[in-house]
Symmetry: D2
Subunit: 263 residues, 4 copies
């Protein structure tokens, strides 16, 4: 069984800020958003978690092993260095979708994303100190078979992107509806899904569905461990196994037990 601690990072009242007093330079907004995401990725990643940029003004994180105090430090550090602030909602559940549902509700309960009086919410439930499963986080790392040969080196870049985007749109909807898994495009031809416990058949079905739907062939490596980082590294190794064996679905070996202490 899986147990996901999910954190929703939401920029406070960001939309109005981008056009006040005048619409701001788009490349400055892009820079601000990307660097803010990068800083949060370093903070959460250095503590064993994963965060995805999603819509940039709302980012979704898997934060097993990261406690309330660290969340407070992140929130304070962002407000010290950026012209915007962040709210953080946190929750725990078996499936990633349920955890995110709870995390989102924590923030929604405090006010609208565009309520200028709602700033720096920090609310929700943390796994701190509770005993949990041995391998609470499952990460599936998908990529496209021979994307460079079939798309990047053949089509113009936008048409290559359309192929990848289609496969992502198909996969994200299927995994969300069928399994309560959350899938993210992470660049190139890579997609990472945070999943509940799923069989090899379930992963094969997901891949078959994308191929039927949009004609793009995927493969997947799956890792399971105590944190997103550890499960994710295991997933990457499993994906390398797909490459060397010519297989479509590979699971990582059970993890070697190591210390979880990232402090």
């Amino acid at each position: 069984m899986t147990t996901t601690q999910s954190t929703l990072v939401q920029l406070d009242n960001y939309g109005p800020w981008t056009v006040t007093p005048e619409p701001r330079r788009e490349m400055d907004l892009q820079t601000l958003q990307s660097r803010l995401f990068a800083d949060i990725a370093q903070f959460i990643g250095g503590r064993g978690g994963y965060v995805f940029h999603t819509r940039f003004d709302n980012m979704i994180a898997v934060t097993n092993g990261i406690n309330r105090e660290a969340h407070t430090t992140l929130q304070e550090s962002i407000s010290n260095r950026y012209p915007v602030t962040i709210s953080l909602g946190v929750d725990i559940a078996e499936t990633p979708a349920d955890a995110l549902q709870g995390a989102t509700e924590q923030i929604q309960a405090a006010g609208s994303a565009q309520d200028e009086n709602r700033t720096e919410v920090l609310a929700g439930e943390f796994l701190d100190g509770r005993s949990v499963d041995q391998e609470p986080v499952h990460i599936a790392h998908f990529d496209v078979n021979d994307a460079t040969g079939k798309y990047t080196d053949q089509l113009n870049e936008f048409d290559s992107f359309i192929q990848i985007e289609r496969s992502y749109a198909s996969l994200m909807e299927y995994m969300r509806k069928t399994h309560g898994a959350l899938s993210f495009f992470v660049g190139g031809d890579n997609m990472i899904a945070v999943c509940p416990e799923l069989s090899a058949e379930a992963y094969q079905d997901a891949i078959d569905n994308v191929e039927r739907d949009v004609g793009v062939e995927l493969k997947v490596g799956v890792g399971r461990d105590s944190t997103a980082h550890k499960a994710g590294i295991a997933a990457k190794h499993a994906l390398e196994a797909c490459r060397s064996h010519g297989t479509t679905v590979e699971f990582s070996e059970p993890p070697v037990s190591t210390s979880d202490d990232y402090r």
Copy 2:
């Protein structure tokens, strides 16, 4: 008539690098990709251009007004500060898709994206010194009507993202096929399209098509000027006009003539 100078930014042999000698920490890759994009956005944005992260290992830019020497400086600066290098292909055409096609071919002709001996290509045609149209760049800035009220404040963040993602997938394919326009998701509920000359009816048709296709309501402001930045700022003002007038498509006023010198 429009004239787009498009630059394709392609990371050299990036896929293999991410797994050599072992798969690298995903949050480090996310940080690297986001900051590289942010730096390129600052470089190009400060000279009046626009760049979009697209797949992060391939980024698409509109570079009217940015010459070969600046491209060389960008390439050198990235190689001085990052563990990866970039190739740049550049071309000019009436439609954005044709310009990108030429830009992509410049890089493809020099070798595969995963050819380890192909590094720091800089090839193609620049607009330098040629007389061009008064308003060669057209930028359309779309957003979703009341995305905060309908999605962000109501659904869990992933389900909000699915709505936005669907509308983006629909718009990008329609604009590409129908008009040779290139559309990019830029965060929140915003999409920016680099377009050829299009009528108000053509924009209304695009919006109607997305609503029929996926049920999401968009509006759009359109700007036209000598650079992507100037056209983009005009588009943002036009989008504000949609908001205050309750309209769906607005064009900016003709631009006031000002100096183009960003040096």
Copy 3:
């Protein structure tokens, strides 16, 4: 009594890299150095430590409360994202200078700073798990009295800088020789010293010495706590007390006990 855990961060073979194959653009080197320092400041600062840029190719950190695993993660993350790597030497001692001496020797023992075969050293002693003093870290935060009124608003900026630089040069040498304390210029008119246990008289003597030596008047707030961050925040509050009381040396109140867990 104090117990300092000090980490020396040394860029591997950096000097030769800056001129290979040709001398690199200075502004790219400045950018690289500053951002590398900023990233290390975020990593160490988010875990309760302090790091100072010193010579940028060698940075000095106070890392009480930060263990070996975190050091490993930092080293890996830098090598994933920069074109240079870092070596880390760590040691513990009563005085900051002795701790740094040991930390430096750990790296020197592994080879020269310009030995191209010596990369990513991680060596030394950590405080992990050992019982330590209640307030092992003492931080003194100095600033210049009315630097804005006397210098910034009166002189050209270089001449203002000369005044601050003189006071820093005087203070750093005095504190090093007299007390084994390490003092760093941190911008504006601020200097932060990592100190052993010192009396109010000792701090007053240091200030008097600087005034006699170079004619610049300082004041200082001193904080003591389990980590550099906590001691440093206490020192800042003490410095605010100097400002409001018109005094020259202030010690913070004993810290309220709180959890140290930054994980």
Copy 4:
């Protein structure tokens, strides 16, 4: 003869901001300052200029070839992405010190550095369009002879830093008083001076003075060109010539004429 265009970058009301409403985390301030400097270094460096961090809340730039519009873009971009804003004073003179004097006065005339109502000043004289000397900018790049062998590999890092700091303090005061040159420590054992026209004897005297004063041996390469970047690269090559010839002062060859266009 030289002609320096100097820009003073001053953070608006920064000191009070760092302690309002409470003193902010020092590592966040260090991160903010370093990244702000890095961004300005990229902006100015990509246009052929040099900027030095000096006190971080005040930065000194050499901006020959960078016009008013670019300064406006920089100011806007910083205010879009940081929680602080910058004022810019600009002036032209034969010696760097005189240019900076004028640049500083432009900002001082608009109000105190800690006047909360004085924000985003942009004032002064630019070289735009004026005919200037062929080689208006002279850059001298100094380093310490065998700093790695004598200091870095022998002493603890703070004691190495003391040696470098002493040589910098000595050089910066001598060059300022004797020649109106502005010298900056740029990391490692490197110092860069922006100079008026000086003979080889004058540079030798400066080096001799530092050795007499603090016992540290320097050497210097001098470059002359139309921009700080070009003169600086020439200076670096001249310093390499010192290394290979075992000499103390080298001037670069006259520059090959190339386009100045960085736009």
